[in-house]
């Protein structure tokens, strides 16, 4: 499902295997527990996280087929992803998504939950597919979209045309930080960026807290609501 590699002070989290890396409850649990492992590592406050994937997909979103068999699982998957994103937002280290394949809907949200988005330009796109497949968009997805995409026209294009955003277009829209010729080059660039960041030094704990304030609107949605959508604050176990 996912693997964790440590290269010096870099944590490389990979969604493994050739499938669509659909965010089903099992994968989400696996990702969360890996993030917790990273968080509790001794060197965590001087490290960097890189998230990437094998194959054609970064992640193709929630496991909709599974949800069709059991509708309560859609609530569960959304709740688990919310917790995972809250954990990423509070993580005491910079985070880089090395997007080497398609990232759709919840999968796109996962990529965008990272501080830096590096992406290959030869294949793959970011795709908020909800308009095309008639899926309602959770309020907390929109909070992240608003925080991470600065231009109103770009937000409109992403959400109201269900644009399939390739890396170079993503760079123009301000969603993607930089684009590379291949999957390997993207990961290489992420590693290089990670090492540069580590060189700069700085306290990951402070970094994490600053990121929380920057993304406060998203946190309000990710930890402020329980499954029924009411405003009861829920302890997800994240460091808040």
């Amino acid at each position: 499902m996912c693997s964790l590699e440590k290269r010096g002070r870099l944590f490389i989290l990979k969604l493994t295997g050739d499938g669509e890396h659909r965010l089903n409850p099992t994968l989400l649990d696996s990702l969360r527990s890996t993030i917790n492992q990273i968080r509790s590592d001794q060197s965590s406050s001087q490290s960097v996280l890189i998230t990437t994937s094998d194959g054609k997909f970064f992640s193709n979103g929630y496991d909709l087929a599974l949800a069709e068999t059991n509708p309560s699982l859609s609530v569960l998957m959304d709740s688990k992803l919310r917790s995972l994103v809250a954990d990423l937002i509070s993580l005491p280290m910079p985070t880089i998504a090395a997007v080497t394949g398609h990232a759709s809907a919840a999968g796109c949200i996962l990529a965008m939950s990272h501080d830096y988005v590096l992406m290959r330009r030869d294949r793959g796109f970011l795709y908020m597919s909800e308009l095309d497949i008639e899926l309602k968009v959770p309020a907390w997805f929109m909070a992240l979209i608003r925080v991470k995409i600065g231009s109103p026209a770009a937000r409109r294009d992403v959400m109201l045309t269900a644009a399939k955003v390739t890396a170079d277009v993503g760079v123009k829209m301000g969603i993607v930080d930089s684009a590379y010729g291949s999957a390997a080059e993207t990961v290489e660039a992420a590693v290089k960026l990670g090492e540069e960041i580590i060189q700069r030094g700085g306290d990951g704990h402070v970094y994490g807290m600053m990121r929380e304030t920057l993304l406060r609107e998203v946190l309000v949605h990710t930890i402020g609501e329980d499954e029924s959508g009411s405003s009861v604050v829920r302890n997800t176990g994240s460091k808040l």
């Binding site: 609530v75 008639e134 907390w140 231009s151």
Partner: protein, 240 residues
């Protein structure tokens, strides 16, 4: 004063005649009722294009009518009446279950520019027409929903400053640079409308669900929807 035509999948709303298309309470009521008509006849693939004849798209509220009230209080009341009655027009456009395009044939000022900005896409002419928020020049304060609309649709503080605080008359190319309009590549009234029709047909071909489209649109602008009394929040969990 204004008409609603159906051309295939396109609803064409036109402010007719050669005048300034100022918004008098009667004009506002007519526009509102035509929008309600379009909404009631909407199907998958419907599109709204709003345009006008002559030199003006619209020069805003009918201030002359306000002045003929005969007293300062009377004038203020009439202005207030127009401000309040125009609010549902903006709400109706935000709520409309289809993509909306404003094809600016000419000048759009104050409430006239607000009408334009209430659309998903705005096209204007390169050679003619300016955008102008006259309030700072004529000493009128702005209704809260005007400011919210500007904040929702115009992303940079420099652009907002130029539009609201400088009394600048912004021409096509500059408007594109500020991110206020999507394109100003057209040399004639026909050119702007044609471009709108082309975009409209492209969007119509997707046959999106109007309900889903409107719901996602509103979730892009929660502050504005709050002020307009529109329920912006979509479900906290996706309808998987």
């Amino acid at each position: 004063m204004c008409t609603l035509e159906k051309r295939g999948v396109l609803f064409l709303l036109t402010l007719t005649g050669d005048g300034e298309h100022r918004f008098h309470p009667d004009t506002i009521a007519t526009i509102l009722s035509l929008l309600e008509q379009a909404k009631s006849q909407s199907t998958r693939g419907s599109i709204l294009i709003t345009t006008a004849n002559g030199k003006f798209f619209s020069n805003g509220f009918d201030l002359a009518w306000a002045q003929t009230a005969g007293s300062k209080t009377g004038a203020a009341n009439r202005l207030h009446q127009m401000v309040e009655s125009f609010k549902p027009v903006v709400a109706a456009l935000l709520d409309l279950p289809m993509p909306t395009i404003a094809a600016l044939n000419g000048h759009a000022a104050a409430a006239g520019l607000m009408l334009a900005l209430s659309h998903d896409y705005v096209f204007m002419r390169k050679d003619r027409g300016v955008l102008y928020m006259s309030e700072v020049d004529i000493g009128l304060s702005m209704p809260d929903y005007f400011s919210a609309l500007v904040r929702a649709k115009i992303g940079t503080s420099a652009a907002r400053r130029e539009l609201l605080l400088s009394g600048k008359k912004i021409r096509g190319e500059e408007a594109v640079g500020f991110g206020i309009v999507d394109s100003a590549a057209y040399d004639s009234e026909e050119g702007v409308v044609e471009a709108s029709v082309r975009l409209g047909e492209k969007l119509a071909a997707k046959k999106w669900s109007g309900e889903v489209y409107a719901s996602i649109r509103k979730s892009l602008y929660p502050e504005l929807c709050g002020i307009l009394g529109l329920e912006a929040r979509v479900f906290a969990t996706p309808k998987l």
